[in-house]
């Protein structure tokens, strides 16, 4: 599903943010990605969702070597990846519903099918009252939930979430985690970057930890929570 071989990454002439990162994630697995601020979590996710090319090493996504894949085939790969960006990246001119519907539309879905499905999901994440609000009129946590709904709406095969619970309280965070687990049960591979240790401990999935540009995989911590 996802395989990194000796991946190194540096921005411009800066120092290497990632050094010799190698790992493989099985299809349908669920991982947390941890590491202190600036450790390279977002960078690693960007490599996974094909927004960056590694400066060295190989990145395989869905079994394809990302740097060997012709440019015209990348859109198809990307359509199968759902991303929750750390900074949300909602389109300010569109309503919450329209924002969430975007991946479906890019994928070529028809209008009628889309709408009720989108509204249902938004209600589920607690935004039933603000369906037609523009992102700029939503609170921080509400925006984050729209971003999450948009990432999962088309049931991607790979879901990458960058700090998806940074702006919501614990109750909502758990609810969102359940959403991810739900998706994971249908076969989606999930990677969630987070600083929220309580959540990591509570759900106890295996951890990809970044420190000094190196990646280590730890198994489940002592799991107290669901899963």
């Amino acid at each position: 599903m996802l395989r990194f071989e000796n991946v190194g990454m540096r921005y411009g002439v800066g120092p290497e943010v990632l050094r010799d990162v190698s790992f493989a994630l099985a299809p349908g697995s669920f991982h947390f990605l941890t590491g202190s601020s600036g450790a390279g979590k977002t960078t690693l996710l960007k490599l996974m969702y094909l927004a960056l090319r590694p400066t060295r090493g190989l990145v395989h996504v869905f079994g394809q070597d990302s740097s060997m894949t012709p440019r015209t085939e990348l859109p198809d790969l990307r359509q199968k990846i759902g991303v929750v960006f750390q900074d949300f990246r909602l389109i300010n001119h569109l309503t919450a519903v329209e924002n969430v519907a975007l991946p479906l539309r890019v994928g070529g879905a028809k209008h009628v099918d889309v709408d009720s499905h989108v509204r249902e999901l938004l209600s589920w994440v607690g935004l039933g009252e603000r369906l037609d609000a523009r992102p700029s009129t939503l609170s921080g946590g509400q925006q984050q939930r729209v971003a999450i709904a948009r990432a999962v709406i088309n049931r991607p095969r790979l879901l990458l979430a960058d700090e998806p619970t940074g702006n919501v309280d614990d109750r909502i965070a758990v609810r969102l985690m359940h959403l991810f687990e739900e998706l994971n049960k249908t076969g989606t591979t999930v990677v969630i970057a987070t600083h929220n240790n309580a959540l990591v401990e509570k759900f106890g999935y295996p951890i990809l930890n970044l420190a000094d540009g190196e990646l280590t995989i730890r198994g489940k911590l002592d799991s107290k929570g669901a899963s």
Binding site: L74, R78, V83, I91, H93, L94, V106, H111
Partner: protein, 290 residues
């Protein structure tokens, strides 16, 4: 079906308010300039061909005699390079003077010189000085006028005006291109994050570019129509005003159908430029993303 326009909400972008106006203005000015250039070009070509292919031989009134005129005409006919010779009737010669001396004077019997027009075979050259020397053997004070002396400066001026009009046309065109490039780019700057997002979601470059392209087309179309209509109104108005003077020495102030069609190139060009620029700018920006 999925409405392509709804992803990128251009209508809230400042630049979309402006593009139609700048296109309208450019098309308006461009069409007028082009029309002016065509008119001047027509006139200059007209003078050029009618005058370089023509000379007038004049016999002063006090030496005028039908015989001499006839002899001159025969001598001219025999001259190499002359294709036709025409003795201008006095009435016609007088008519030429009316604008300058007033009908009263001319009509009341102003004596006019004998005039003989000759046409010259295109391409061949006749030196007016040598010709005059030769003809002076028949009539001492004959004068050969090749019309060039005083018209050549006018032609130079008109040719320059023509070049200027085309240069301004080129400038306006490049300004329009600039305006479209800028508008599209500034749209891109405002929507850069949206474009990046769509790209990340797996939208193909052509899909994203076509949204900008269609938008640019619609805006430029609106602007082009306004500009072309305004220019047409001005031109018709001017043609109507200039009608009274057409017969005098000024160039004719009307365009041929062919030229009207040529003028359509201005708005059409503006619209095509707008569309292509939008497409190219967006595609180039997208190509920089992996």
């Amino acid at each position: 079906m999925f409405n392509q326009h709804s992803d990128l909400p251009f209508e809230r972008d400042q630049s979309t308010r402006f593009l139609p106006w700048i296109v309208a203005l450019m098309v308006f000015l461009g069409t007028l300039m082009f029309a002016a250039a065509l008119l001047v070009s027509d006139a200059v070509n007209n003078w050029d061909t009618t005058l370089t292919g023509r000379m007038t031989i004049q016999v002063p009134e006090y030496e005028k005699s039908t015989d001499d005129t006839q002899k001159l005409a025969e001598a001219l006919q025999a001259t190499k390079g002359v294709s036709s010779v025409r003795i201008i009737p006095d009435a016609e010669a007088r008519a030429l003077l009316i604008p300058w001396l007033g009908e009263g004077v001319v009509g009341s019997g102003l004596p006019v010189p004998s005039l003989i027009d000759i046409e010259i075979v295109p391409g061949s050259k006749i030196d007016p000085v040598l010709l005059q020397e030769r003809l002076a053997e028949i009539v001492p004070h004959v004068a050969v006028d090749d019309h060039r002396s005083w018209l050549s400066a006018l032609i130079t001026l008109a040719r320059s005006a023509e070049i200027l009009a085309f240069a301004i046309l080129a400038l306006i065109a490049s300004a329009a291109v600039l305006a479209v490039i800028f508008t599209t780019r500034s749209g891109l700057a405002v929507h850069a994050s949206v474009i990046e997002l769509l790209h990340q979601m797996g939208a193909r470059d052509a899909y994203i570019a076509s949204q900008f392209q269609i938008q640019a087309l619609m805006l430029a179309l609106r602007g082009g129509l306004v500009g072309a209509t305004a220019a047409t109104i001005i031109m018709l108005f001017f043609g109507w005003i200039g009608r009274g003077i057409e017969s005098a020495f000024l160039p004719t102030l009307s365009l041929s159908l062919m030229e009207w069609l040529l003028l359509l190139l201005v708005p059409a060009g503006a619209i095509v430029i707008a569309m292509l620029t939008a497409r190219l700018v967006v595609l180039r920006a997208l190509e920089r993303m992996p």
